[in-house]
Symmetry: C2
Subunit: 196 residues, 2 copies
């Protein structure tokens, strides 16, 4: 009632959207992924550091490399989803900072010379961007199936490198039959929010 966003958009992004566990075989096109990225890239990050990196697993060969790294409960849906995205944090994001923050190029050395600081920033800001990306998938009329049940070290070794830390893996597609479980409860406002 107090929101400016129209109710249909609220439903599409939050209320009717659900984490899908089955998908139809309708393909997710490169054009759709580009449209999602071109929207969600504008979501804010600290110092505009934009550390999210995405590996799309589309080929049969890529699926075959990924499948054994998924936990048992996630394997089948990852094999059958039209598209799978590995979301990762780039711990060397500072290399792009002079270009991403042109009014303050010194930030690269002043704030991010230490790898530990970069890792902390990258993981937090890439997770923020993962939130934008999940909603972007829904904005495209698709269902997202985010998962953290996989071999993180194995996925990093197989698909990434030492500078990129996996965050989550997201199945993407049109929801299939019996795509979701009943919605789980959420915490009440007063359990989450306090005022001082």
């Amino acid at each position: 009632m107090s929101l400016s966003l129209d109710p249909a958009a609220q439903d599409l992004l939050f209320r009717e959207a659900r984490t899908a566990n089955t998908f139809t075989d309708e393909p997710v096109t490169e054009e759709q992924v580009r449209a999602i990225y071109e929207l969600v890239k504008y979501g804010p990050t600290a110092f505009n550091q934009s550390p999210l990196r995405i590996v799309l697993v589309r080929s049969a060969e890529g699926r075959a490399r990924l499948a054994p790294l998924m936990s048992d409960g996630n394997r089948d849906k990852t094999v059958t989803a039209p598209l799978v995205a590995i979301l990762a944090a780039d711990n060397e994001f500072h290399e792009e900072l002079p270009r991403l923050l042109p009014h303050f190029p010194q930030a690269k050395d002043a704030f991010f010379s230490e790898r530990g600081v970069r890792e902390q920033n990258a993981s937090m800001n890439a997770a923020l961007q993962a939130g934008y990306f999940i909603l972007g998938i829904r904005a495209a009329g698709l269902a997202a199936g985010p998962m953290t049940g996989f071999d993180f070290a194995g996925v990093q070794k197989e698909f990434l490198d030492d500078d990129h830390t996996p965050l989550m893996i997201v199945n993407i597609g049109k929801p299939g039959e019996n795509a979701w479980f009943p919605r789980n409860p959420r915490l009440d406002f007063d359990e989450v929010v306090t005022t001082v």
Copy 2:
């Protein structure tokens, strides 16, 4: 073009929305914050763990405690914003899991008995929820000003406890005069996304 979300909603949430650095004195009501929460609470988290906790700093006394903990560049806007939200991760979120994940109450002990595992999960999933919350502020027709420039240990000590880790602080309100800088560049699709 490939998105289902209508262009006005795309603009409201991503394209025209900007990180605000000044605000008008129009209040942000409790009702607005409740409407934001009631929408974004549906955003997905791993195991529905929902670790985000929010401290709204509204009183003059609260502002006075927060102001000295902000970095110099963030202090003035935090004092003048109509409402300030401290976003934190609850590292003891597992206590609520049997209620949040009623079909699998064993998850609490099977996956989250170790504090280190909980901290890692809480920070990643609370950051995801922070992404939803920032977009929820925009969905309410308000501007968000997320900041990480503050004394994290000081904010934890002053406003939270050992079980709650601060993630970021967000100013909330209607944008004021000269509310934002020119938009910074974003990375190109092909710099962020690879396909295998």
